[in-house]
Symmetry: C2
Subunit: 124 residues, 2 copies
């Protein structure tokens, strides 16, 4: 692991947020002002290919990166924020129902988060 790879890995796994390349770049830049976007892309891809991090793609948003531990995501359709959630026994259940070789799954529940819900109510 190179310096940048390690730093980027750390930034992603240490964050409670789900970071996009640009945010990773911003954080990294504080420590290494000369670093360049392509470096973040390169390393993020390297980490992803090595299955050390996970990529989350949501419509009309840049990809975000996350820890690899299997979990699911709630995506707020108002603010775009992601939240983690674990639906129990889902993997097994899916596994059983498909033909072919199961690899993994990607579940996003679209919802309106409690914060936005509240904000909407207040504005009425």
């Amino acid at each position: 692991m190179t310096k940048y790879e390690e730093e980027i890995y750390h930034i992603i796994t240490a964050s409670a947020e789900h970071l996009a390349v640009e945010q990773i770049y911003d954080i990294l830049k504080k420590k290494y002002p000369k670093v360049v976007m392509a470096t973040v892309y390169n390393n993020v891809n390297k980490l992803w290919k090595a299955r050390l991090i996970r990529k989350i793609s949501v419509e009309n948003m840049p990809d975000r990166y996350d820890r690899t531990v299997q979990h699911d995501h709630l995506v707020c359709q108002r603010c775009g924020r992601l939240r983690d959630i674990v639906f129990e026994d889902l993997t097994d259940s899916l596994h059983r129902q498909i033909g072919g070789e199961f690899l993994s799954y990607d579940l996003k529940v679209l919802y309106i988060c409690p914060d936005c819900k509240k904000r909407e109510k207040d504005h009425q």
Copy 2:
């Protein structure tokens, strides 16, 4: 509904495949040789905003469009082909477990389809 909107809606809902804009364009062009990509994009977006069709985004692939009836997708990681599947009782189960307002969900099961599995076996 305009002529193109209607045609495009029909192409998408009549197809057993999951079509990308380019394929829709190719089909439409046979009947209307002068039609242009932007028209397909415009109408596909209009239909999507009206919730008459569904958008399926998969990494590194152009968006594909589909009927709106709720169902899930198997995505083959070898050939990229999508197949429909219905996991029973999933909606209810998810609905119950989130905070906030449930809107919908998007589930993709990544797998190796039986065809590719067979092909791999034959090549060994």
